[in-house]
Amino acid sequence: MTDPAPEPLLRTEKLSRHFKIGGALSRRTLHAVDDATLAIRPREIVALAGESGSGKSTMARLLAKIYKPTSGEIYFGERPLSSIRSRKDLLRYRGEVPMVFQDPFASINPVFRASHGILRALTLHRPELSRAERHAEALRALSAVGLSPAADIMQRYPHELSGGQRQRIGFAQALSLRPKLILADEPVSMLDVSIRIGLLNLMANLRDQQGVSVLYITHDIASARYVADRLIVMYAGHIVETGPVEDVLASPRHPYTQLLISAVPDPRVELNISAETDKGEPPRVIDPTPGCRFRWRCPLAIDECEQVTPELRQLLPGHQAACHVAVASEPIRAFG
């Protein structure tokens, strides 16, 4: 990172994850994440946006140490994650970097009370706590996520809670571990529109009041703009653009980011038909050849895009894009 920012909490270096697909004899490989370098600093919400299949969930699972990287490394503070071997260390890491899942109806065990998951996570990840301390910690976490009265909520079963409340339980579970970074994979996409904002506000509160960082994975860049400090845009396994969220959205430098922004339905502004010109071809991530993976959809593609994979380039302070035609002086104009 070139800008004078605090030391990153977590960073990745040339992180890749490939999956073998097809039968045992198949040599085809799906490149879910390729050469991704990113950093998340303390007390910041970073939004990771991209379409389905762009590799954003794979990224979350790599960071949660559910998948092993094919190549590259993740550093948590100074420590490379590949050096974590013992179960104790792994539990400790997962307590510091817990995950919140997408579907609050599937991620909470329906046969136990709401307190069960929180208390169990505490037993596993913070074994030093006594029974009474665990209980106190659960109450603290539940109040911090806006569930009150906390003692009453703890006694309820998941079916007695609404979707929004369940997702708050998910956050409480993460928060009770005193995490440094919460990996939130599409935490609001299953919730009703009217209660999403509440959860987004909760993430902002956790950052402001508890000092927690959040990696907010979403395909909804309007909500990313609402809560995030920085935005990372992924396309077909590559990070294509990253920077302060307002800068990226106000003046995108990568054609895909521009396409993504133009496709957001906004009743307050005129329909921008330019998105119609998008060929909408799904990206090719199975045994990809060198070159930009967006080139088939990109109206600005030049010869170089066919041969050379563009690297992230610093175009403006803190604002990088992986595009051969992007320039620092003006936003990209690929669509419309």
Binding site: S194, V264, D266, R268, E270, E276
Partner: protein, 357 residues
């Protein structure tokens, strides 16, 4: 201030008003008969739809929007039953028709695009086989004709006919959803009912599908009832908009009017719940609380517990639909025993919308 809008109203629906409605829903009620009593999922909904019109229905989960669709297409299964009202489609009351009689109407005159293409398509049959199934079930037996029409409908939705041989898992989410639409268009129906067809897609695929649906509608002239939880999605595409809450129509009128000047506090809240991609970043609050439990009937307005403009009368009187200019609103601010405390034209246009750009 209202900003400039896309020309979503250019569709022939305006002129169609002289033709008379193609679909009339009168006081339709649907209940789920449960052990602990009936739950009214759709409560006295009435509207009419004209040929070639695009009607958007929005609401949160559990507001009855999907049940309403299923009732219109007569696809309800027990424990759901129509408890009142009727659905008149092209002069025939659909409620009470036998399966055989419905068979003649379904797919030929009225087709349904289901929410999740991944679940609605048969995973072990090719797209071509599924198109063929549908055609044979509706009396088309000539192999030539089937092949020709199958290729034709796929081309209509911009899918290469080579995919007739493809299985659903070989297609992207967008293509699956497109092939569902292709299937719905096999017999060029007069009405296509769509239940959140884009909800599994990302914004770019969603936008391109919406543009495609609108284009097909302009070419073929079918009417659309489009159900979604995403109010902003239909803003540029539907001519009229119905906002549902707790099984009832909360607000109902021309899309632009509802968007520019939402009268019902719930519609206003829904619009305020979307962060904007442009303009100033403003803190939003969403709507506090959660949608009501319809199995626990309550006195007064269903929205009262969450309503920022709640009045004492709201918990006592059940609001009717009141006309405010051309919009129907179920809110006691506009009618009822108090006669409506908000003057019709200064009608509390919710919070100022921040256009900001």
């Amino acid at each position: 201030m209202s900003s400039v809008r896309a020309d979503a109203d250019s569709h022939p629906a305006g002129s169609a008003t002289t033709v008379g409605p193609m679909l009339t829903v009168n006081d339709l009620s649907v209940a789920y008969e449960m052990d602990r009593g009936a739950v009214a999922a759709v409560d006295r909904v009435s509207f009419e739809l004209y040929p070639g019109e695009f009607l958007g229905i929005v609401g949160e989960s559990g507001c009855g929007k999907s049940t309403l669709l299923f009732a219109i297409a007569q696809l309800l299964n027990p424990p759901a039953v129509v408890t009142g009202g009727n659905v008149v489609f092209k002069g025939v009351n659909m409620v009470g028709l036998t399966d055989k009689q419905l068979m003649a109407v379904r797919w030929r005159d009225l087709s349904v695009v289901m929410q999740s293409a991944m679940n609605a398509l048969n995973p072990v049959k090719s797209i071509g086989a599924q198109l063929k199934d549908a055609m044979r079930a509706h009396g088309v037996t000539s192999a030539d004709e089937i092949a020709k029409r199958s290729a034709e409908v796929l081309r209509m939705v911009s899918i290469d006919p080579v995919h007739l041989k493809s299985y659903p898992h070989q297609l992207s989410g967008g293509m699956r959803q497109r092939s569902m639409i292709a299937m719905a268009l096999l017999f060029t129906p007069d009405l296509v009912i769509m239940d959140e067809p884009t909800s599994a897609l990302d914004v770019v695929a969603q936008r391109s599908l919406m543009v495609q649906i609108k284009k097909l509608q302009a070419e073929l002239g079918f009417a659309i009832i489009f159900v979604t939880h995403d109010m902003s999605l239909v803003s540029h595409f539907s001519e009229r908009l119905m906002v549902m809450y707790a099984g009832q129509v909360a607000e109902w009128g021309a899309t632009r009017q509802v968007f520019d000047n939402p009268r019902h506090p719930y519609s206003a809240g829904l619009l305020e719940a979307f962060p904007s991609i442009r303009g100033k970043r403003v803190p939003l609050t969403g709507i506090p609380g959660s949608p009501p439990d319809l199995s626990q009937p309550q006195q007064g307005c269903w929205f009262a517990p969450r309503c920022p403009k709640v009045m004492p009368v709201c918990t006592e009187v059940n609001p009717d639909l009141y006309s405010v200019q051309d919009v129907q609103v179920r809110c006691l601010l506009y009618g009822g025993p108090a006669g409506g405390t908000a003057p019709a034209d200064a009608a509390a246009p919710a919070e100022e919308m921040s256009t900001g750009d």
